[in-house]
Symmetry: C2
Subunit: 408 residues, 2 copies
């Protein structure tokens, strides 16, 4: 992917202030894996007792580090743990050399940090199919281990970027039983975004104590409502990984806390929206709300068909309230629909109702909504109570420019 | 969709000479349905005894004329028949008024041509969701019926165009039992192309005599290998219709002729390729050959995942042999794949083999292939004997320009 570095017009004004999470520390380094003059490796260390859960791409061509992480999730939590991430090379489709690279990196981290190799999780993101020069990564591990900072999370968010135009972070602080619990997360991702399990690279930390199987159940359930509900270009990465680490350092057990679950959902949704806001070439942030479907699953199929339609995405780029294309996408999605019960709105403007153009449709009002930066498309199928909300961006010349460049 | 009228760089040099098909005649008119200063209605008349088969979009929001045609296919062949097509308005998502428009048009044709209304097939193509001004169509039917020409098929190919940049025709002439049989077809289509049953608008005529149920079986089977194997933008029309009419005027029964079946396949494939060559914004014609899949169905799923990937289509536009993105598309397709048995070639250049970059990979040679106008991507899954070939075009700034315009 290309090297357009202008910050997305949909970026937040600034990287947020993230709370320090007791029990985790960070360091970054410029290892020169591929990029020069910037950080490209981050190491996060986690205290003994930390529980770790994760969700990963379902791609059949997933990368060596993804396979390695998947085999380790759910392991013992009495030892410390570490997460090491490099950008610039995804170590995907690299055969035996990819497995060897993961083994070399995880062994170096384990030895340096004095933890079992089974508690070292790695991710790699960047070009596919090139051997990862893992010696450049292992060369900086001693330095990374020696310079850990509890305040290093924003530097970590920068080190994991590839085509991202801004670093992504989100947090929540809540009270449980009168005590404070914090959650802080970072993410990278901007193209090849159509997560099918987790997405891109996401790391979330909390000082809450959460039993591992519950932590896994929480993150899987919330992923389905957040990262699995976004798409930039319908293309699914070979490296998608989300890791959630609960250090327990606050002493507060959040295993059965609905407030914690809700706060985690908020952090994940915020990060997912930031990934869409950094969608390659994006100029509009689009929310698609589907109601009245035969099931929640059907609602999501319709929502994703709309969100992935090039004709709808280009119409949004052109500020055209082209609801006929929404009708088209619903028709092709494969999920249940009854043309004559279908209603569509753009923002608050009812454009179609009961299978035809709304009697009080105002093209002018619909066009006015399309001129905004935040577009909402509402679809009611009128046949059941299934609902889903998905998020995407528009398809612009910027996407072509970024991706029709020769590999950079 | 927009109004860019430059002819596609992938267009054939000229519209082909099509043979006259005994038993069918054509006329066109400028009814002003939407476009001004061009023909937009065509009427084809077919002699008594003509058998008619058809395949249509599976869209759940398919148009009123599609539903009407589907209800009539397979009807008696002792009466004459007629096909009326208008461009400029698809009469899709037009509720009761759409049904009334179809009824008015088919009744006017039936009365004027003295045939049963059940033998009048109509198609409409163009904007979705606007009421069809059917009185403009019925107003020209008398004139159309009065000016039929057996040589009018090329004029018909022009009258059914919307965003097409060139009219599309193909033909075959074969000998069966020492007698000549001809097939001639026309098609329109350029955007919203990801057929799921038939595609776009396609009309094929032959003077062979073919029993109706066999004709239907033939066209369905061939559609799966031709029109259902192309995609421009993954978006499926609400109006896709293919009608095949066998007049029998040659006196030759081709019901059991493998040569006829083969010739029909050739005509359909030619027309399907022309639709891809007129893909909105297309600058490259892309053939994707998948072998070694677990099944033919799996091979097609992989092929379509590659053909619809925006990242691959933009890489092709950029002449980048980015095979990592092919690995990505195979991984996400959902069909069976084993990363470590996967081989990929661009043209004759083996780029990946057995799950890694090919040992004798030449980036230069692969890049040279990408500079051509005809790109071939070969994928061998290495796990079975399933095969499929699909066709698409690249994704360029032209597609954005055409589709981000305000509806024209």
């Amino acid at each position: 992917m290309g090297t357009i570095t202008k910050v997305s017009p949909l970026a937040p004004a600034a990287f947020p202030e993230l709370p320090v999470i007791d029990g985790v520390s960070f360091a970054t380094a410029a290892a020169g894996v591929k990029y020069q003059g910037r950080t490209d490796v981050m190491l996060a260390r986690l205290i003994p007792g930390t529980t770790i859960a994760g969700v990963f791409t379902r791609s059949k061509t997933r990368s060596a580090p993804v396979l390695d992480c998947q085999s380790k999730i759910g392991g013992a939590s009495d030892a410390g743990a570490a997460i090491l991430v490099n950008s610039g090379n995804s170590n995907a489709f690299t055969g035996r050399s990819g497995v060897e690279a993961v083994a070399a990196i995880t062994k170096a981290v384990a030895d340096t940090c004095d933890i079992p190799q089974t508690r070292v999780f790695t991710s790699s993101t960047g070009v596919i199919g090139e051997p990862l020069p893992f010696d450049r990564v292992t060369a900086v591990i001693g330095d990374l281990a020696a310079h850990q900072q509890t305040t290093g999370i924003s530097a970590a968010a920068k080190a994991i970027m590839t085509t991202d135009t801004f670093p992504k972070g989100a947090s929540a602080t809540i009270e449980i039983d009168g005590k404070t619990v914090s959650i802080a997360g970072i993410a990278k991702g901007s193209g090849m975004i159509a997560p099918d399990m987790a997405t891109m690279l996401v790391y979330i930390f909390t000082d809450a104590k959460v039993e591992q199987s519950t932590l896994q159940e929480m993150v899987s359930a919330q992923t389905d409502k957040t990262f699995n509900c976004i798409t930039v270009d319908s293309d699914t990465s070979t490296s998608d990984s989300l890791i959630l680490a609960a250090t327990g350092a606050s002493g507060v057990d959040a295993t059965n806390s609905p407030a914690f679950r809700q706060a985690l959902h908020g952090v994940m949704l915020d990060l997912a929206h930031q990934v869409v806001r950094d969608g390659e070439g994006a100029s509009k942030f689009v929310e698609i709300v589907v109601t009245g479907a035969a099931s929640d699953a059907d609602a999501k199929v319709h929502g994703m068909a709309i969100a992935n339609s090039p004709l709808i995405k280009t119409a949004i780029a052109g500020e055209d309230p082209n609801w006929g294309r929404v009708v088209m996408a619903i028709g092709k999605s494969g999920a249940d629909a009854d043309r004559d019960r279908l209603s569509i709105r753009f923002g608050d403007v009812q454009v179609a109702k009961d299978g035809w153009r709304s009697p009080d449709y105002s093209e002018e009002a619909a066009a006015a909504h399309m001129k905004g930066e935040n577009i909402q498309i509402g679809v009611d199928l009128g046949i059941g109570s299934g609902t889903a909300t998905v998020w995407t961006c528009d398809l612009t010349h910027g996407y072509i420019e970024i991706n029709a460049d020769y590999r950079s």
